[in-house]
């Protein structure tokens, strides 16, 4: 029976993307985003691989401290599922030197499949603390300068399940899927690059299921790895 129903996408769907924006964009700035990665799974006879979620998105600096964004999930689309997320990143604290801060990102995830038109919505709330451990300005020969920074960040993602029951009328016990995360942000003039590791639902059993998750916590949760990029227009 093993792997009968295994498709590349199955797994912790909360693992489908990294933090969209750790820091808000500049006011009125437009940006395109992309992401790749997911929960690490052991595919017998193949390797340990991340579930290959991918997405393309857009962000806009609505205010100095507020960025709105939306993303479309491309891997899901290949399997006949329209998946998107939308939300905003709000800076809620910055130190006076502007080297560290805290952002929160409330959002919503929506999925619908083309086969049975099953539609679901999951609210999401992310929060991150970031610290610019290196920040510099590069002067160019034409007199322009480029601001760069390298940052660590740490935070968490919460997905909220609104359904009270799951299949066959069984109580849905997991209503908040909590996943802490750490990451690194390479911030350049035009491009930002993000590497993120999520500890997906580290309190939930990963035993007795069809997916063989890889987790640093053994029989609990899963480890997710992600790459994200942002191109600032």
């Amino acid at each position: 029976m093993k792997h009968l129903f295994f498709l590349a996408l199955i797994g912790l769907i909360v693992s489908c993307a990294p933090t969209r924006f750790v820091k808000p964009l500049e006011h009125k700035q437009h940006a395109l985003t992309g992401s790749f990665g997911g929960a690490l799974t052991n595919v017998p006879g193949v390797a340990v691989i991340p579930i290959p979620h991918s997405s393309l998105g857009y962000g806009y600096g609505l205010k100095k401290n507020t960025t709105v964004y939306g993303s479309w999930y491309t891997t899901a689309a290949v399997f006949g599922v329209f998946q998107m997320d939308a939300g905003m990143t709000q800076s809620i604290w910055k130190d006076s030197a502007n080297r560290m801060g805290v952002t929160v990102s409330p959002g919503v995830n929506f999925m619908v499949d083309v086969f049975e038109h099953n539609a679901r919505v999951w609210p999401q709330l992310d929060a991150n603390y970031y610290f610019d451990y290196k920040k510099w300005t590069k002067e160019k020969s034409n007199g322009l300068s480029k601001n760069k920074s390298n940052s660590f960040y740490v935070g968490f993602t919460n997905w909220f399940e609104l359904q009270s029951t799951r299949a066959h009328g069984v109580d849905q016990k997991n209503h908040i899927i909590f996943s802490p995360q750490i990451g690194h942000l390479f911030e350049r003039n035009k491009w930002n690059f993000t590497l993120e590791v999520k500890f997906l639902a580290p309190y939930a059993s990963n035993k007795d299921i069809v997916v063989d998750y890889v987790s640093p916590f053994g029989s609990k949760g899963a480890l997710g790895t992600f790459f994200g990029c942002t191109y600032k227009l």
Partner: protein, 274 residues
Amino acid sequence: MFNRDNSITEYKLDDYSGRKTLDVGNDYHVEDSMIHKLMIPMTFEDETIQIAAIYVGELSEIATDTVIMYCHGNADHMDFYWPRQKLYANLGGKYRYGVLMIDYPGYGLSEGTPTEANMYASVNAGLKWLKTQGLTSDRLILFGFSLGTAPTCEVAGNASTYALAPGKFILEAPFASSDVLVQDAALLAMPASYFVNVKVDNAEEIKKATAPFLWIHGEADSYLSIHTHGEVVFGAYPLATKTAVRVPGGDHENTPFVMGYANYLESILNFITN
């Protein structure tokens, strides 16, 4: 989608050197003269293909005796499950019951490509063959393991649309539905249609079954949880004619070994004979 292996050119049974579901040793030996390798025609969507099957027992006794039709799991092909067929051929004594096993389309030497619908059709082809040999519904024991619980529940729940209706049926390590498979892995209550294109729903089909039912499940099943799958299926069967055998320490494949083969067979024999 299906975890089949169709790389073989013949069924080697005891001489098969690949992985097997169990190692039952020599205590459950089956003589070559009792092994019948068959190709059964199956017509599905206007196409006729050949389904590989193995029957263990006296063919002439099908018309008068009770027969077990074993629907195997998703791994590989019949060589993998051959030790189980030998076990059942020794149930209640050597060759007390004839045992038919088939490979689903695309598995082993069976032609075709596996789908949910033609998997059911292949089981029906096996039932038709048994019927032509003289088997009647009251003498049919339908036995499904893991993936094989899907056609077993389908036939048990919709018996009038199949060649034979089981007099009794057995589910070992059943899965409840595609939805539960997905939701167990995803934690969220998301529909299976996001990930899979099969709509197996054993917990629903079994509600329509009327034949007596035996459920066997390892309590340590690391693949199909006894709680989210087995208990749901067992609970959905609506009649009192059901028996549960929970196996402490039993995993997905090794429940007969963990119980002890003799104890395992005795549980099945008690269900069939009582």
